[in-house]
């Protein structure tokens, strides 16, 4: 990796002073938390910053706190291990703790942070391979489109066909969470649904609405309905340690016989965590039976446009959604 200057601010204000928007924008300054993504990018020369601002020394950014009215606030530096092991969240927000538990390995989860997980860069092998100068790295072509695209997007793709690698993002989307972003100008709150950006919507070199110079400070989950139950199903090619081929985050309010309402988000299938609104509509007030689940699965994948090698993700994702619904009915 290229040599760099390491800065260790003690407060968020100090950190913001170090984040000159132009330098962040031109990749000269990078932000470090758990380092699980950034360090691998440094080692592969995908990131070659001159300055790295380490947030780990900032206090008060790793808590999990109950908000008045039933919401939850989680600091961006909270490790995935801490999230996964939280006894209350395991009961009330199973989709989130299960998603955290499904990431990588124990060692990585003990270092990786919530903020880093949401802000990590794509895992597409064209992006990660130093020799291929793809669209995501300023090249002119998304090589996966006509190339090896088994792991790429079937929904929302173009001109880049990455899938967003975060497991926490679909879970938070299903929980209707927001992120709090701070900058020298102040603080703004953005819904997870708006935070992740499709390559067709904005800058193809970025995956989120995070502006240069901003820091993701915390995640806020709004109060959930009393009868809400949730689950997370992630399909990994290699169960021991892998990214999602496809994943389902499901939050549903049921009375045991009927699904009153549901929120469904998919991971591993689109450049952003993908909200399956058609599936939600199909599930609203539907009886809890296989037929409804199949209808929801069909609806969720309607409009999918597979590339040459990833059509399997359609039946796979449908199957996962059915299994997730079955487990809630269970």
């Amino acid at each position: 990796m290229k040599a760099f200057r390491l800065h260790n601010p003690r407060t968020i204000e100090e950190a913001l002073q170090l984040l000159e928007p132009e330098r962040v924008s031109s990749l000269k300054t990078a932000v470090l938390a758990g380092g699980m993504d950034l360090v691998t990018e440094l080692k592969e020369y995908l990131a070659q910053p001159d300055d790295i601002v380490n947030l780990k020394g900032i206090e008060g950014l790793s808590g999990i706190e109950a908000e008045p009215g039933g919401g939850v606030r989680i600091g961006a530096l909270c490790t995935l291990a801490r999230l996964e092991e939280h006894p209350v969240l395991q009961r009330t927000h199973a989709v989130l703790t299960q998603a955290a538990a499904s990431v990588a390995s124990v060692q990585i989860r003990s270092q990786a942070t919530l903020g880093g997980n949401l802000n990590q860069r794509p895992r597409c092998w064209y992006y990660r391979n130093e020799e291929s100068v793809c669209l995501k790295k300023g090249g002119t072509e998304c090589f996966s489109y006509g190339g090896l695209n088994k792991y790429n997007a079937i929904l929302g793709g173009g001109p880049s066909y990455i899938v967003h690698p975060s497991d926490l993002a679909p879970a938070l989307l299903a929980l209707d969470a927001s992120v709090e972003l701070v900058s020298r100008k102040g603080m703004r709150t953005v819904k997870i649904e708006k935070y992740f950006t499709l390559p067709s919507e904005g800058d193809v070199l970025r995956e989120t609405a995070l502006e240069p110079g901003e820091i993701l400070r915390s995640v806020v989950i709004p109060p959930q309905k009393v009868w809400m139950r949730s689950t997370w199903l992630k399909f990994k090619e290699k169960s021991s340690f892998d990214w999602a081929l496809s994943a389902v985050a499901l939050c549903a309010v049921t009375d045991g016989k009927t699904i009153r309402e549901a929120r469904v988000a998919l991971g591993g299938v689109a450049p952003v965590p993908w909200r399956a609104k058609a599936a939600e509509a199909a599930l609203a007030n539907a009886p809890m039976e296989r037929k409804s689940f199949e209808a929801a699965a069909e609806a969720a994948l309607r409009g999918a446009e597979p590339l040459s090698q990833n059509a399997y993700k359609i039946p796979l994702t449908k199957g996962l959604l059915i299994r997730a619904l079955e487990s809630l009915a269970g």
Binding site: R128, N129, S132, E237, S240, N310, I322
Partner: protein
């Protein structure tokens, strides 16, 4: 087998004092005519579970592997491997030399790049990071020429020429095509299919390389991650400008080889040249990416097979056209129909070359490829003729050992209670469970080469020394355990010294030949030492040497019944102690082993997930030298096959000419969650009193059994491994 069982016991008449009267009795004495393993029941350490003597230092990280060696003044080297599959390169050597920390830059003067990953230059610097900076400063300008990185590209019309002999290599042909045609026409059931396997990597946890300890002068030491301690010094002599005898190779610990680590290799050669130029020690172990690109692999294969089966289950015809995908190398593929007997056979085999790294030996070269095609075809034929998968196998295996082993694995895996014995299950069942089988063979014999020295000091310490390497199989442990058993000692009574070319000679560890070559020599050395010991002590104790036995830490005179603690007996040795050298004894080694395996899987027809619930192996190997490490070898082979079945695959990017997955993130290896229950059964019905190597056989049939089990569960016949959900869902007609 029976001829090998002849005991070398002999009876001698001795006069024994019983109740004050001299009585002449006949007693049985040990193998004074030469070493023999003796009866199975008589062992105290051999044929028992003996934990590895180096287990604690390995798991606690204290065992120094070549990667861990740090020497004063040592430089760290990096190799520049070609980032294009074909073409040429221009280097900026000056910039590299000017990079801070860089001490030496080596241009390998490669005129023409012929394969992706071909080493073209190297840099040695004071830290690994500075060496990496130096490589980047080389600012290599690669000028790409036309290339073929996939067999499809190589066989396309107007494909660029990969080797001077063309892209399709020499074809070998066997059998009678016409006879096969007639037999196929007369068969009760036929099947025709194409089976293919990807290139698999050795994926050793320690990458290839050496640390060269040379600082000028006329001596050098090489710490090598190698399968052949004695295969290094000679190769290193020329680049270091020394004689082989001036170079000691050390391989005390090494992190896996699986067939890819013989000889100094290009990386070792580069390290020697850099050390010679710098007159400083050089540490060169390949990066993981370079290991993937340039350190060998198991060749892939594509086989078109057609077979015929009679109504009674006899295999009557087989036609096979075999493509071997060994990159610029030839690849390997065992002859079809592998171990099965088929009445009429016609085969063709040829390599298809690509601009990629040449294949190397990998655990049972060619066997897993042959196994996958024939075991798959047999199941397809059984289903076509509505025949029992197990019975058809038994009927077509000439060696009766297989029928016995297959019945055992069938019982263990639950075959006789399984509903799908002649037809696969359907995907609409509630639970899709399938079973598959496979068989294997290997030689595992040994030969003359090892020289083992057993030394006993007067303080009772015993050392067993030989220059051999331990690939993780437990070699070091039996170098001690065989000697300990000979002297009636525990494992703490003998120290094994291995891993140096200054010690007695040893063969390279390849082809599962180590144990059959080395264990007899250890036994011989131990036996000779014991004979010498007895010879020296008998007159001092006033007894006959034949009557001295060593057991439970004591020397026992069978005449008087007197027992002397071992250390005390050693004190009676001459000042210089005692030393004996043993070499190979043909009678103590055997050759030829068989194994059968079965796998049980669950397939989720909704998602295509394959879960390996259980695998069973019954494996013979003559005399188990150490039952614990033997089972460990079986587990390892089965896990590697499982990983090959479910995940492993080198993936080449055909347009860019890259390997797209040269890392352990995208080249997926099975982890603990992929591995279900594994049962390793040592076939104790093999009563040969001979040491035979077992490693290779254990990797051969597992992936075939798993693929067959998937098809058996739900009809999803996947003919191209690995069994990833995209292929399983496609085979189920869902894509």
């Amino acid at each position: 087998m029976s001829t090998q069982d002849k005991p070398k016991k002999k009876k001698v008449k001795v006069t024994r004092n019983e109740n004050g009267h001299p009585v002449e009795v006949e007693i049985e004495v040990d193998d004074v005519d030469g070493p023999s393993w003796g009866p199975r029941a008589g062992h105290t350490l051999v044929n028992h579970d003996v934990p590895r003597v180096d287990g604690p230092v390995k798991v606690s990280g204290r065992a120094p592997y070549p990667h861990d060696i740090r020497l004063p003044g040592m430089l760290h080297a990096r190799v520049l491997c070609a980032r294009i599959p074909a073409g040429s390169v221009r280097l900026d050597l000056e910039s590299a030399r000017k990079t801070p920390g860089v001490e030496v830059v080596l241009d390998l003067e490669v005129k023409e790049i012929r394969w992706l990953g071909q080493p073209v230059a190297a840099v040695a610097a004071t830290t690994p990071e500075k060496a990496a900076d130096g490589l980047r400063a080389l600012a290599a300008q690669f000028q790409a020429a036309g290339f073929a990185v996939t067999p499809e590209q190589a066989l396309a019309p107007n494909a660029p020429q990969v080797t001077r002999r063309g892209n399709k290599g020499k074809e070998s042909e066997n059998g009678d095509a016409e006879a096969v045609k007639a037999a196929l026409a007369a068969a009760a059931g036929t099947a025709r299919a194409e089976y293919s396997l990807p290139v698999q990597h050795h994926a050793s946890l320690e990458t290839h390389g050496v640390v060269v300890d040379y600082s000028g002068g006329d001596e050098a030491r090489i710490y090598a991650s190698t399968q052949s301690t004695f295969g290094i010094s000679e190769d290193a002599a020329e680049p270091l400008g020394l004689k082989a005898s001036q170079i000691e190779t050390i391989s005390e610990y090494m992190g896996g080889g699986f067939g890819a680590k013989f000889g100094l290799g290009i990386e070792g050669l580069i390290a020697c040249r850099l050390a010679k130029l710098a007159k400083r020690p050089v540490h060169l172990l390949l990066t993981r990416k370079d290991e993937f690109l340039a350190a060998g692999n198991r060749s892939g294969s594509r086989v078109v097979m057609e077979g015929g089966i009679a109504a009674d289950g006899k295999l009557t015809a087989l036609r096979a056209e075999i493509e071997r995908h060994g990159g610029i190398g030839g690849g390997s593929h065992a002859r079809q129909p592998y171990v099965y007997s088929v009445e009429k056979v016609h085969t063709k085999s040829y390599p298809v070359h690509t601009n990629t790294d040449g294949s190397r030996a990998m655990r049972a070269p060619g066997h897993p490829q042959a196994s996958f095609a024939i075991e798959s075809l047999i199941d397809e034929l059984c289903y076509a003729a509505n025949l029992d998968l197990l019975e058809v196998r038994k009927k077509n295996l000439a060696n009766p050992t297989y029928a016995r082993q297959l019945e055992r694995v069938a019982r263990e895996i639950g075959w006789y209670e399984h509903p799908h014995r002649t037809q696969p299950g359907r995907m609409d069942q509630r639970e899709c469970i399938g079973i598959g089988f496979g068989v294997s063979t290997w030689g595992g014999g040994g030969g003359e080469s090892c020289e083992v020295d057993v030394r006993i000091e007067r303080d009772g310490s015993v050392t067993s020394s030989v220059g051999t390497q331990d690939l993780g199989t437990g070699t070091r442990t039996y170098v001690a355990s065989i000697v300990a058993e000979e002297f009636g000692l525990g494992m703490d009574g003998v120290t094994a010294r291995i891993g140096s070319s200054r010690l007695g000679n040893a063969n390279a560890s390849g082809g599962s030949t180590t144990v059959a070559s080395l264990a007899p020599a250890v036994k011989n050395a131990a036996w000779k030492a014991r004979m010498k010991f007895a010879e020296h002590l008998a007159p001092l104790l006033g007894t006959q040497k034949e009557l001295l036995r060593f057991e439970k830490g004591e020397l026992v005179d069978q005449q008087s019944g007197k027992r002397i603690p071992f250390a005390k007996a050693c004190a009676m040795l001459p000042n210089e102690g005692l030393q004996a050298r043993g070499t190979w004894v043909a009678d103590l080694a055997g050759n030829g082993i068989q194994g059968a395996q079965a796998a049980k899987v669950r397939v989720d027809p909704l998602t295509g997930r394959v879960e390996v619930l259980k695998m069973v192996c019954v494996q013979n190997c003559g005399l188990p030298i150490n039952r614990l490490t033997l089972r460990s070898q079986i587990f390892g082979g089965m896990v590697q096959a499982l990983s090959y079945a479910l995940l492993e695959e080198r993936i080449m990017e055909p347009s860019l000419g890259l390997q797209i997955n040269p890392n352990f993130e995208d080249y997926k290896l099975a982890g603990s969650l992929e591995i279900g229950e594994i049962v390793a059964i040592i076939d104790d019905e093999d009563t040969r009193e001979q040491a035979i190597g077992v490693s290779e056989a254990t990797i051969v049939p597992g992936h075939s059994a798993i693929a067959n089990a998937v098809a058996n569960a739900c009809g999803a016949r996947v003919r191209h491994l690995p069994l990833t959900p995209d292929k399983v869902l496609a085979a189920l007609g869902k894509v």
